[in-house]
Structure formats: C-alpha cells, structure tokens
Symmetry: C2
C-alpha cells in the first residue's frame, strides 16, 4: 500500500516569470521519515492541434530557451489566472498562428507534465475548421513561423525526430487514440 | 526565419538534488534585445516499457512529490553521469520492479520533456522477456508497488485517466507508432 506524504512546510526559493521553485518539507505518514523536496509550481499549460478547413495541421517553429534550439510544435502556453483552459488554448492558437475557428476547441485529454517535481496539469485540445483571421500577436521576445502540413505527414515528422516536444507528442497520442490513426 | 539566441552569461540560482536552476542572459542576434531566461538543467531521463514473458506490461504505483498524488507509470529515472541511457533504463526497471531480461532494451525514441525551460532529453525503451530476478531496491524515500497488466488494457487505463504522466504517455505513443497498436 503506497502512502501519500504529509506536507509540513513550504518555502519559496525562487520566483521566475513562468514558474516558482519551492522547497517542501514532508513526512511519511507511516515510517515517519522527513525530508525536503524541490517542487516547481506552474499554472496549468495548454496546447492545441489546429486543423484548417483544408484538413492541414498548423505547426509552429520557434527558438526555445530550455533546449537552446529551434523546435517544431503545436501552439500552446500558460493558462492565465481565472481563464478557462479551452479559452487559453484558443487564445494561444490565435496569437501564435493568426488562425482561429468559429467552432469550440475539443478537449482531447489532460496529463501531468512531470509529477516527480512539477505540480501542474497540461490540457490538450483539437480545434477544427481553423482559418486565417489576422496577423500573429507575439509575446515579448516571441518569434514564430507557421507551417501547414497534412495530418498524414505528422507520423513521419515524429519518426524523423522533427517533432520532439513530449507535451506535443502527448497531444498527438490522444488524437490518435480517439481517431484510430494520425489521418 | 527563426534565429537562435546568443548566450551571454549563465548564473546558478539553485542547486536541487535532481536539477539545478540557472538564470541565462541571452541576446537576439538580429534584433539585439537582451533578457534573462530561467533554465532548469537536469541529466537525461529514461523510461522503459517492461514486457514479461507472459506478454504483460509492468506498471508501477508511487507517490509523487510534484503532483502530491499517487501515479501509475512505467519504471524510469535519471541517467547517472557517464552511464549509457539503455543501461540506466534497465537499471531503473531492475531496481523499481525486481524484473529484468537477458535481452537488451530497445530504444523506442527520444523526446524533449519541455524545451521551453528544461535542457534535457528523455529516452524511451522497450524491454521484452522480463522476469522476476530478485527483490526491488529502492532509492531513499522510494516506495513502489508493481502491477502486471495486459498491454491491451493500457489503452483503457489511458482513456480512464489512470496513466497521466506525459513522459510515460510518450513512451506508449512511440510503442504504438512502431507496432501499429497497443496490443
């Protein structure tokens, strides 16, 4: 039988823009041992698979400061305080690609980016019938290139290692489980 | 055209057990704007889908300090300095489940856990023909329950939200892309 640890104290160690780092003091309820664990707190994350009227997926290329490399992803970002995750996902798509849809985004599933030390949840959406509605709107320091590719090419982009972001891969996995294939 | 930023300086902010947090000063090579970005450095991570001689997948249940909850996952962990990721994955499986195989683990693929602020890569493996070889060996504070389930049930465990760890889902996605289904 696995036990949940008791939280005794939580100390803020760092406040970064996109997350905070806490040292959390916890005790095992049965064994009684205590220790300090590093926990990164972040708001919920969202990402979204936008599909155009022509049946193409919108992918984005951008420089990423963690990997220090240019990655191929789907739109996504942080959920603002009090914001509905579906609205956040649609907002990120609109800002990062300049595309939007008159339909509502559909929740594909939610997942835990890394429960070992991250506290948050990521929500993956599908947004059908997207079309260009205006210019991209970048956050500070953002620079994003948009590519429209047939869904049937996504399998190949993953196998060739072009799409490597775990959270993006998870969104496509949810899509595949619901649709039977990446088509 | 997307540019890679130039790294000007890197300051260590925190040294936690499983990662370090840096503030990285970078400049855009064309626009010339400079800013500080939070980057978490971690060794490579591995996870592994162990399949028993009876064709069952070994899953593990454990308490996770990030999500403050008990999760259902596959074995995995950090790659030690100088360690081959395949050896690390096999070692984690042996330690966490008490199972091992005489065969070599097969690389399913590698992915980036979160290129936005994490620097590292996760390697996903498949290990066939696993059998019990001894008792589990836990790291400090670890407590792990092992479950053997038919691969055909994994789809259902994901759809019911029992398996929610993004990196574990990515390993099963790679498995599905190579095998055509979760069978």
């Amino acid at each position: 039988m696995i036990s949940e640890w008791e939280t005794l104290a939580r100390m803020r160690r760092q406040d970064c823009k996109i997350f905070t780092l806490d040292a959390v003091q916890r005790r095992h309820p049965i064994r009684g041992d205590e220790s300090e664990f590093a926990v990164i707190n972040s708001p919920a994350w969202v990402n979204i698979i936008p599909i155009t009227r022509a049946g193409e997926v919108l992918l984005i290329r951008q420089y990423r400061h963690g990997s220090d490399s240019i990655t191929l992803e789907i739109p996504g970002g942080l959920v603002n305080e009090g914001e509905d995750p579906a609205i956040a996902a649609q907002r990120e798509c609109r800002e990062e690609t300049g595309y939007a849809s008159g339909q509502d985004a559909i929740l594909l599933g939610s997942h835990l980016p890394n429960p070992a030390f991250l506290n948050n949840t990521c929500y993956a959406y599908l947004w059908r019938d997207c079309m260009p509605v205006g210019a991209q709107r970048f956050d500070e320091h953002e620079e994003i290139e948009v590519l429209a590719v047939p869904m049937a090419q996504v399998d190949d982009l993953i196998k060739r290692g072009e799409i490597r972001h775990s959270l993006v891969l998870t969104a496509f996995f949810f899509y595949m489980l619901q649709n039977g294939s990446l088509q």
